[in-house]
């Protein structure tokens, strides 16, 4: 009898271990987190894209030398977060990925974060350090080409990812708040 109890106890422990491993369930086939991409943020923190799993995230791409569209994209995301009318910590965190990792070092990222007064708790301005950046951009619907010098042509996309990295809403509207996108974000955070 005692042996059986020990056995059951062991089984229970094993089950707990299995549950603890639940977050490493396979990603859904349309998850953006399938792209292996290593990132470094404005505070020098290194992390993998897939580590964003587990919460909703607003994602967009930028580069610091971009003088008009990118600052406007940042402003627009700020407006979107404000339009949610929830405390900062309840709004999705923001992940901005640079398309110009050669120029966008931690110093430049930090300077941009400071200029826009972006709280590092909720805003991660990042540069990719390993992985296929252009493929990641493509999964997000972003295409870019380097023009002469440090200038890129690219399209603007702001996307909302669910906790498994699937795009649940996206918008190409920048410079004003896309109300449909705000509704989608609101719906997302209300459901959790």
């Amino acid at each position: 009898m005692k042996r059986i109890i020990v056995f059951l106890y062991a089984l229970l422990l094993a089950c707990q271990a299995a549950f603890a491993a639940a977050p490493s369930l396979p990603l859904p086939g349309d998850s953006l987190y399938q792209s292996p991409l290593s990132l470094q943020d404005q505070q020098g923190r290194q992390f993998d894209l897939a580590s964003m799993r587990g919460r909703s995230v607003i994602v967009s791409m930028f580069y610091t030398a971009c003088s008009s569209a990118c600052p406007l994209t940042v402003d627009t995301i700020q407006e979107i977060r404000r339009a949610l009318n929830v405390p900062d910590r309840a709004a999705p965190t923001v992940l901005l990925v640079s398309i110009d990792p050669q120029h966008d070092d931690v110093v430049n990222l930090a300077a941009m974060a400071k200029a826009h007064r972006l709280d590092p708790t909720y805003w991660r301005l990042t540069r990719p350090t390993a992985g296929d950046l252009m493929a990641f951009a493509a999964t997000l619907g972003v295409a870019y080409r380097q023009r002469t010098g440090a200038d890129f042509s690219h399209n603007a996309v702001i996307a909302l990812l669910d906790e498994n990295g699937r795009i649940v809403a996206h918008t190409s509207v920048i410079g004003k708040v896309d109300t449909a996108f705000v509704s989608a974000v609101r719906e997302r955070i209300a459901g959790h």
Partner: protein
């Protein structure tokens, strides 16, 4: 017994080296070039194309079969929806068999941009940039830039129109051009790494504009040379595709940078 095994091993390695025999890369010397597409950026519409090495032949079904056999995540039955949607490798008999509709030496088509990109990385190469492809395709057997030749234009257009009617492209007698590149005009389209950006070129100086031009074909695209219908049609064919789409008339070849495998798929190094 042992000698028989040895013989088998030799035969297999020979077969393997034959399978890769066509993965030849030829050098394309660089030069100044006027793209038929309005690229908006380069002053005077002239682009400087740096020298590069390009795969002499399109990637074939046999090449791609060897690739998916090595890298199972690109198999038809395993590929993630993010990287290839339902039209992926539709002509193949099975995930690891070609069958009648996919001759081993025919160019592989029905491959998404993501998959083409991954294939090239497996050859320590990358997809061409648009300007590299256009530059290489401008040549004929004698000249580096044969685009002004109207007889050639007519012939290429006729061939392109023919290929619309044929479900399966037969390897055409498209001899090597001046660089030694074969079949540069055999398919309606060839994947290039920055194709989507050709159409996504919403002027970032007018960010307030609706940016829904992405992949809306020619809407955002300007042609400088409107006499080259064939080229315009090739571009239009690519413009209709998202990177996860596959088309039975789009294949690919890869390029390498001269002086080492730098900038492979623009992988970032820190």
């Amino acid at each position: 017994m042992r000698s028989r095994l040895l013989l088998l091993a030799v035969a297999l390695s020979l077969a393997a080296s034959c399978a890769f025999a066509d993965a030849r890369y030829v050098e394309v010397p660089g030069g100044a070039f006027r793209s038929a597409i309005k690229l908006t950026d380069e002053p005077g519409d002239r682009v400087d194309v740096a020298p590069f090495r390009m795969r002499a032949n399109l990637v074939t079904n046999a090449d791609f079969l060897a690739f998916v056999s090595r890298e199972a995540r690109w198999r038809r039955d395993r590929v993630a929806a993010l990287f290839a949607n339902s039209g992926y490798l539709p002509r193949w008999a099975g995930p690891l068999s070609l069958g009648r509709n996919a001759p081993p030496d025919a160019p592989v088509t029905g491959v998404s941009w993501f998959a083409a990109r991954a294939y090239c990385a497996s050859e320590q190469a990358r997809l061409a940039h648009w300007t590299e492809w256009e530059y290489a395709a401008a040549a004929d057997a004698q000249r580096r830039d044969a685009r002004a030749d109207t007889a050639r234009q007519t012939r290429l257009l006729a061939h392109l129109m023919d290929s619309f009617g044929t479900p399966s492209m037969t390897p055409v007698g498209d001899g090597p051009n001046v660089y030694g590149l074969h079949s540069m005009h055999a398919l309606v389209g060839e994947w290039v790494d920055d194709y989507a950006a050709l159409f996504a070129d919403v002027d970032t100086r007018n960010p307030g504009e609706n940016s829904e031009l992405r992949l809306c074909g020619g809407a955002a695209l300007g042609f400088i040379d409107r006499t080259d219908y064939t080229l315009m049609m090739r571009v239009a064919a690519l413009s209709a595709l998202t990177p996860a789409d596959s088309s039975s008339s789009v294949g690919f070849r890869c390029v390498r940078d001269i002086g080492g495998g730098e900038d492979i798929n623009q992988k970032v190094r820190s």
